[in-house]
């Protein structure tokens, strides 16, 4: 039943995109209805998949060697559920954010439907050919969505970069799946022969998986495509990509590693190192951004880092045989997959609402939006608290589980060098959380507090009901998971059992109960304190704020987002040197001057692009062979033929 429902949901999502591109205005208006129906059907299927046995559905398919096999087990359903939720919310949001009469409405809706529908197929494909085909459709439709506003060169570049990076990832996956086929003699996702992980070929599979899935997930050295693509896409697409599409990479990684019967230590340590680097540097780069969507995009890298940290501890514990640590770490990582999908989508949608109202993505051209857009501000604040991992919201629960797993591992006093790496996790997570808090103080402060910095921000209005309504289920889910995580316990146990089939089951209820109690306590204390403060400030005095002695304070004299973050980004200057254009020396009587600074992506702008330019120069020497004479081409063909003939004769 679950497989049928999930497939139905996917088909409805794709069909909603198909409806949008039909000629005639009446069809395009039905797309939200269709995609929401699909999302509800799919969510029902995921629910059944998470709570009951695995179901498989095999349909006839004409691809040679391929099989249209849909397998919904707990792991697939777990990853597919956020996709459906986000499809529904995104479809509803797009109805007002990108109305049917706006330019390229059919383009956006058509590809959005295709993206969501095929994304779900990636998660539930039981056959590698189907998996790769769906993966490619996701890539292509996301490419078109990123390039929606392709008049802007920035948008085009982001789209091309995304396509190139995705296809590099695809190549690695082709190689990986070919090796899997050679080892298992089946194209289905199947368990690998025993003892493989310690052989060199097992490590090759792991390396290809890390590279291919890491690019998709946006792990730190492979993240180059992510910030640009998230910034350029329409907001609900950014929410979908950041919340769900990059989780395809996590899903693929988990699915591939679940095929191994035993996991060597090196897998866990590699994941752990990548996770720690991604989380700390991701948030550091986020702090340095002044484009609201790029800032959120770098936070995706951070959160993927946290998820991979959890997975790293889990696989390390699996290698070590500590069932409890593994269960806690996997549960934390998996729950963070959901949580990040929820709060990041919420953040993107509310940020999109602010961008929609102010017509700019520059944080320094916003300001004072709380009074003008209270609902948007509240939604953004909810998401911000959740992403910083503060109680009583959902980010706290999953990060807590990862902390607890790390502490449990540390207190077990095992003597093993790779185990020592786990010691680095709690400080790294704490640093990440603190930096994230600083980043969102900056973002929320500059966007929603203070006075408007530009005329457009001053004239902003609250977004229409449809856009606000799309954020509601996401915010509700953030609160729900934060306050009642025990409800998810049995589900997480089922999924964890699939990832690490070798380990005995472990009861999560106790740990989740602890989180729940503390979250509820914090919520009650916060509510009481808030009520108390409101009661006290009943007698409100109105007057100007203290202006520090400046007679004529103007909105432009407020702290800018970059000046607020300056003290922290300076600490990370070794990893992300800023490009500053400032007047070299101010004359005695200063005239008009300008100051501009931005932080380029170190990997992309300082390593990858120079390397590519260098290789392009090398390759350009081959152009001397292009004489453009037919005669020369025929001669080279003939010589090649003769050489090959002699070579094969030898």
């Amino acid at each position: 039943m679950s497989a049928q429902l999930v497939l139905l949901g996917s088909i409805l999502c794709i069909a909603s995109g198909g409806l949008a591109i039909l000629p005639g205005k009446s069809f395009i208006r039905t797309t939200p209805v269709m995609i929401i129906t699909g999302a509800i059907a799919g969510l029902a299927g995921c629910w059944i998949g998470l709570t009951s046995a695995t179901t498989t559905l095999v349909l006839p398919w004409m691809i040679p060697g391929g099989e249209f096999r849909i397998t919904v087990d707990a792991l697939s359903a777990f990853f597919a559920a956020p996709a459906f939720l986000m499809a529904g919310a995104g479809g509803l949001y797009a109805e007002r954010y990108w109305p049917a009469d706006r330019r390229r409405a059919a383009w956006v809706r058509g590809f959005f439907g295709l993206l969501t529908g095929s994304l779900v197929i990636v998660m539930v494909a039981g056959h590698t050919i189907l998996f790769l085909a769906a993966w490619e459709i996701v890539t292509i439709s996301a490419f078109f969505l990123v390039g929606t506003e392709h008049e802007a060169p920035e948008s085009r570049n982001a789209a091309w970069l995304y396509l190139a990076a995705s296809h590099v990832a695809m190549l690695a996956l082709f190689a990986m799946i070919a090796i899997l086929h050679a080892l298992t003699h089946t194209w289905a996702f199947d368990a690998l022969p025993a003892g493989l992980a310690s052989l060199p070929i097992g490590r090759v599979i792991f390396a290809l998986a890390i590279f291919g899935f890491g690019i998709k997930a946006g792990l730190m050295p492979f993240h180059v495509w992510l910030p640009g693509a998230h910034a350029a896409a329409p907001t609900h697409v950014s929410a979908m990509m950041s919340g769900v599409v990059i989780k395809m990479g996590v899903y693929g990684l988990v699915r591939t590693l679940s095929l191994f019967d035993e996991i060597p230590y090196s897998f866990g340590t590699t994941l752990l190192v990548l996770g720690i680097v991604s989380s700390i540097l991701g948030v550091a780069f986020a702090l340095a951004q002044h484009d609201l969507k790029r800032l959120l995009a770098y936070h995706s890298i951070e959160n993927i880092g946290i998820i991979v940290c959890g997975l790293g501890i889990g696989f390390l514990a699996e290698a070590h045989g500590s069932a409890r640590v593994a269960a806690l770490a996997f549960a934390g990582a998996l729950l963070h997959v959901w949580n990040h999908g929820l709060f990041k989508a919420l953040l993107f949608l509310s940020a999109g609402s602010a961008i929609h109202a102010t017509h700019t993505r520059e944080i320094d051209r916003m300001g004072g939006l709380t009074r003008r857009m209270p609902w948007t501000a509240l939604a953004f604040l909810t998401g911000a608290i959740a992403i910083c991992g503060l109680p009583p919201l959902n980010g706290f629960v999953s990060e807590w589980l990862i902390y607890v797993s790390a502490f449990t591992a540390v207190t077990a006093r095992e003597a093993d060098w790779s185990w020592l790496l786990v010691f680095a996790v709690p400080p790294a997570l704490a640093l990440t959380g603190a930096l994230a808090l600083a980043c969102f103080v900056k973002a929320f402060g500059a966007v929603f507090l203070g006075a408007p910095r530009a005329a457009a921000a001053a004239a902003a209005h609250e977004s229409p009901l449809g856009m606000r309504a799309a954020m509601m289920p996401l915010a509700a889910a953030c609160f729900g998971i934060g306050l009642a995580p025990t409800l998810l316990g049995p589900m997480l146990e089922r999924v964890t059992a699939l990832i690490a089939p070798g380990l005995p089951g472990c009861d999560l209820a106790g740990s989740l109960q602890g989180v729940q109690t503390s979250a509820i306590t914090v919520a009650v204390v916060a509510a009481v304190a808030f009520g108390f403060v409101t009661l006290l400030s009943r007698k409100r005095r109105t007057g100007p704020t203290w202006d520090c002695g400046y007679a004529a304070a103007v909105p432009r004299a407020q702290y800018t987002a970059s000046s607020l973050a300056r003290s922290i980004t300076g600490v990370f200057a070794w990893a992300m040197p800023a490009v500053v254009h400032a007047p070299a020396k101010l004359p005695l009587f200063p005239r008009e001057a300008s100051f501009e600074s931005h932080v380029p992506d170190t990997v992309l702008d300082r390593a990858l692009l120079p390397a590519l330019r260098f290789s392009e120069r090398l390759i350009s020497y081959a152009r001397y062979a292009q004489s453009a004479r037919v005669q020369f081409y025929i001669l080279s063909l003939g010589v090649t033929l003769v050489v090959l003939l002699f070579w094969s004769a030898l």
Binding site: Q626, S627, A628, R629, V630, Q631, F632, I634, L635, G638
Partner: protein, 211 residues
């Protein structure tokens, strides 16, 4: 294998030299046509009984290689108003020298091949290889598009001679012949367009299309 077939093949080899040595476009086309007619006669010496199949093959080959294709080429030369001089990248003397070397190499090489005893004594295999090489030389060292066509025809002639060894399955050869005819048609059209675009048939101008 009667000696008369070998005589025809030796004439074929001599025409190769003529094609590589001539400076006139018309002479070149005429000799290519002559090659076609010589080839069309060859099956008669291979097969002793006059079957319907044999007659059809001889006439079809003679008509296509000896008449239709050359007349198409003559028409092209007339239509596109080019000077009738062959402009080689490689001079005539070096071309002839290379052709001689190629022919000698073909004779030596064919001796080394593990052929059936019936074919070993005849000139079929070396003549075929030598014609292929000569065609290849024309293709790579001559400048004008029409001489390229002649080069392709010579290549095909070489293949045809080789195919005669397998006379019983000449069906494939007839298929190739038809393909060639269609190819020449297409080339004729392409030539016209090149002419219109660059007002010359010199393939040098095509290098402007680079990039």
């Amino acid at each position: 294998m009667p000696p008369i077939a070998d005589t025809v093949l030796i004439i074929l080899l001599l025409t190769n030299f003529f094609i590589l040595g001539t400076a006139s476009m018309r002479a070149m086309i005429r000799v290519v046509a002559l090659q076609g007619i010589l080839l069309s006669l060859l099956p008669i010496f291979v097969e002793s009984h006059a079957t319907l199949r044999l007659v059809a093959l001889v006439f079809a080959t003679a008509a296509l290689k000896g008449l239709v294709i050359p007349s198409l080429l003559f028409k092209a030369v007339r239509d596109v108003h080019i000077n009738h001089e062959i402009e080689p990248y490689l001079g005539f003397i070096p071309s002839l020298f290379l052709c001689a070397t190629g022919t000698a190499a073909a004779l030596l090489f064919a001796d080394q091949l593990p052929l059936a005893a019936a074919h070993k004594s005849s000139l079929f295999v070396p003549a075929s290889l030598a014609t292929l090489l000569a065609g290849f030389l024309v293709l790579t060292t001559r400048r004008k598009a029409i001489s390229q066509v002649a080069g392709y025809l010579m290549l095909e002639n070489g293949i045809y001679v080789f195919g005669l060894l397998l006379y019983q399955s000449m069906v494939v050869e007839v298929g190739v012949l038809l393909d060639l005819l269609v190819g020449i048609f297409v080339m004729g059209i392409v030539l016209n367009h090149i002419q219109r675009e660059f007002s010359s048939l010199d393939t040098e101008h095509l290098s402007r299309l680079r990039e």
